[in-house]
Amino acid sequence: MWKYAVQRVLLFIPTLFLITLLTFGISRLAPGDPAALKVGVTAEGGIAGRTGLNERTLELLRQQWHLDKPIWQQYLLWLRDLIRLDFGRSFQDNRPVLEKISERLPITLAMNVLAVLLAYGIAIPLGVYSAARAGSWVDRAVAFVLFALYSLPTFWVGMLAITFLCNPEYLALFPTGGVRSVFHSENWSLWRRILDYAWHLTLPMLVYTYSSFAFISRQMRSAMLEVLRQDYIRTAYAKGVSSGVVLWKHALRNSLIPIVTILAGVLPALIGGSVIVETLFSIPGMGELSFRALVARDYPVIMAVFTLSAILTLVGILLADILYAVVDPRISFERRAE
């Protein structure tokens, strides 16, 4: 398995190279001059006007950011820095990109891990339960709710929640954004701090999780139904195994295989979703950072976030591959890797 994992990681390198090349090319070829944006000069002259001083500043900025060099040279420079794990400095505030990201990463990562655990933790039992009672009214009600959740756009649900649940005009159950109260203090007990975080993160987490959860539950139910049709399930019942054991031991393990492969898709979906949820609820995470960077055309930050999310996506795929072998002993990486 390790041999396979290493091979897979080695394959990631050209993929990553191509992905970054693509984004880099697009970002640099796209119209719009970040230096001009920084100085406040638009093509027509803009607020600051096209004075000689501004022209000089623009020139210096472009030099500092290597924007005066041909694109391929810019890319090579970026790549050289990347190998030293240096993502450069943000165009917006000149702080090292890595520093900005490391401030933002923990909250996004925590939300991601929690979302995956929650989604799988509820979806698997729910999927098994409704498959075991396929056709009953419980199953149909669950299927209906899951379908609705699956089709509900997260940004709409988020907006509805903010409008109706965080609005003094209707119900002000939750704060409109942030991760902790403005008036929070270091003197608070740990318990009170946790409660404060929970109060702020309940809505974002719900919005963040429900669509993955609905998707996984639906997949779980159909995978389980597929397995329950197999002969060995009938055999198990025939030899007198209790239905609980058949469901949770014989059937569950086999139906997990397609669910595990979904993980490869859940991670990038969550990363994409974090842009929306974090922007919506003003959570200072990676998604919000990339939203701001995109608005400000902050190339170093955009490239860094993009590279990181590409790596996370690839890690998700690798993780799914490895888990695949864990749930299905028939899969041997040694043979597949040949």
């Binding site: 993929t15 191509l18 992905i19 693509l22 984004t23 697009i26 970002s27 796209a30 119209p31 719009g32 379908f147 609705a148 699956y150 089709s151 509900l152 756009p153 997260t154 940004f155 709409w156 907006m159 509805l160 903010i162 409008t163 965080c166 609005n167 005009e169 209707y170 409109t176 429900y210 669509s211 993955s212 609905a214 998707f215 997949q219 397609p258 492969t261 979904i262 898709g265 859940v266 990038p268 979906a269 969550l270 990363i271 994409g272 979703g273 929306i276 922007t279 919506l280 990339s290 995109l294 608005v295 055309r297 955009i302 976030v305 993009f306 999310s309 590409a310 996370l312 996506t313 799914a320």
Partner: protein, 359 residues
């Protein structure tokens, strides 16, 4: 998943098992699938819903417009909506004297569209939030510069429908071509194309689209369609590849080859028609996803220029004024219903194609 973030279910990229169902005597495959599909009530309702949306999109100018459909003015019959079309097409030019402000004109009588506003029509007289709330004048309210929400929803239907079909059209074209080439020729070409599919699969799709669309400043709806199409073809390609791989060894393909038919003819006339129905399932889900991605982009404020009113961009307006619930509720509801309809059609089609569920 939602949004945006709908997961391209890996591993299960083929929505249905390829099947060779048993049709009734003399019944074509397509006919049989249609017969099965019609038994699905939700699927049929969704199909009608999309049909209604299409009708609204086509007749949007007659449903929401700031000029009358027909009017009698100074003893002459006018067809201002049709005239708008003529001007847009360049058939006639707007002569100075003909420019009538229908809002203030003293016409004898006029037949107005049910919603007498265009989505761009602003109404500066609405000053307070209360003025902008749903009322007899603006049934679904207006945004902060007095643009009618219902007019926006009606005209936004055009974007909502075309985004799905164009984006999925691009994805289908690429997916079918690459899948068919890889499956039919096999060998080195297959290895190269399969790597390409894997590469695109590993792209953080939503992030890529958002980056490109945000960075290209003069973003247009076409760019969004192209980006969704260019990143969304992998599922189709993998499925078509598998199907072509399976079919190409069958006797009738060998026979076609023996008859000296060209590879293109064999692929497009003989092999693909047998793989196409299940591809439609992927297409239905793909359209739902495209609608979601576009509205998410518009919602974040990337993509469509500010003058263009889409459902997502109307929803984005709500972020500015949190108490304007009508800006949240109505456009979002339409997005939800449309996405749900496409998903239900996809579900129904998948069930119709599944031989195990056939009676």
């Amino acid at each position: 998943m939602s949004e945006t973030f709908r997961i391209p279910a890996p591993g299960s990229s083929s929505p249905v098992e390829p099947s060779s169902p048993l049709p009734e005597q003399g019944e074509s495959y397509g006919r049989m699938v249609w017969r099965q599909f019609r038994k699905n009530t939700l699927g049929m309702v969704s199909l009608y819903f999309v049909g209604v949306l299409a009708a609204v999109a086509i007749f949007a100018d007659f449903l929401a417009n700031d000029v009358p459909i027909v009017a009698l003015y100074r003893g002459r019959l006018w067809f201002p909506v049709l005239q708008q079309y003529a001007v847009q097409l360049g058939v006639v030019t707007q002569e100075g004297g003909e420019l009538i402000d229908w809002r203030t004109a003293q016409y004898d009588w006029a037949l107005w569209p049910p919603v007498p506003y265009r989505p761009e029509t602003t109404d500066p007289t609405l000053r307070t939030l209360r003025d902008r709330a749903p009322s007899a004048r603006h049934w679904l309210g207006t945004d902060e510069i007095g643009r009618d929400v219902l007019a926006g929803i009606i005209h936004g239907t055009r974007y909502a429908l075309s985004i799905g079909f164009v984006a999925m059209g691009i994805a289908l074209a690429i997916g079918i071509l690459i899948g068919a080439l890889a499956g039919y020729y096999g060998g080195v070409l297959d290895i190269i194309l399969s790597r390409l599919i894997e590469l695109v699969l590993t792209l953080p799709t939503f992030f890529l689209i958002i980056t490109v669309v945000a960075l290209v400043q003069q973003g247009s709806i076409w760019l969004i369609m192209a980006m969704i199409g260019l990143t969304g073809w992998t599922g189709v390609a993998r499925f078509v590849r598998g199907e072509v791989l399976r079919v190409r060894t069958l006797e009738y393909v060998t026979a076609a080859r023996a008859l000296g038919f060209s590879a293109a003819r064999i692929i497009f006339r003989h092999v693909l028609p047998n793989a196409l129905a299940p591809v439609l399932v992927a297409a239905a889900f793909g359209i739902a996803n495209a609608v979601l991605i576009e509205s998410a982009l518009s919602f974040l404020g990337f993509g469509v220029p500010p003058t263009v009113v889409t459902w997502g961009s109307m929803l984005a307006k709500a972020r500015g004024s949190i108490s304007a619930w009508w800006l949240v509720l109505f456009p979002g509801l339409l997005i939800f219903l449309t996405v749900a309809a496409y998903n239900l059609i996809g579900d129904a089609l998948r069930d119709a194609l599944d031989p195990r569920l056939r009676q």
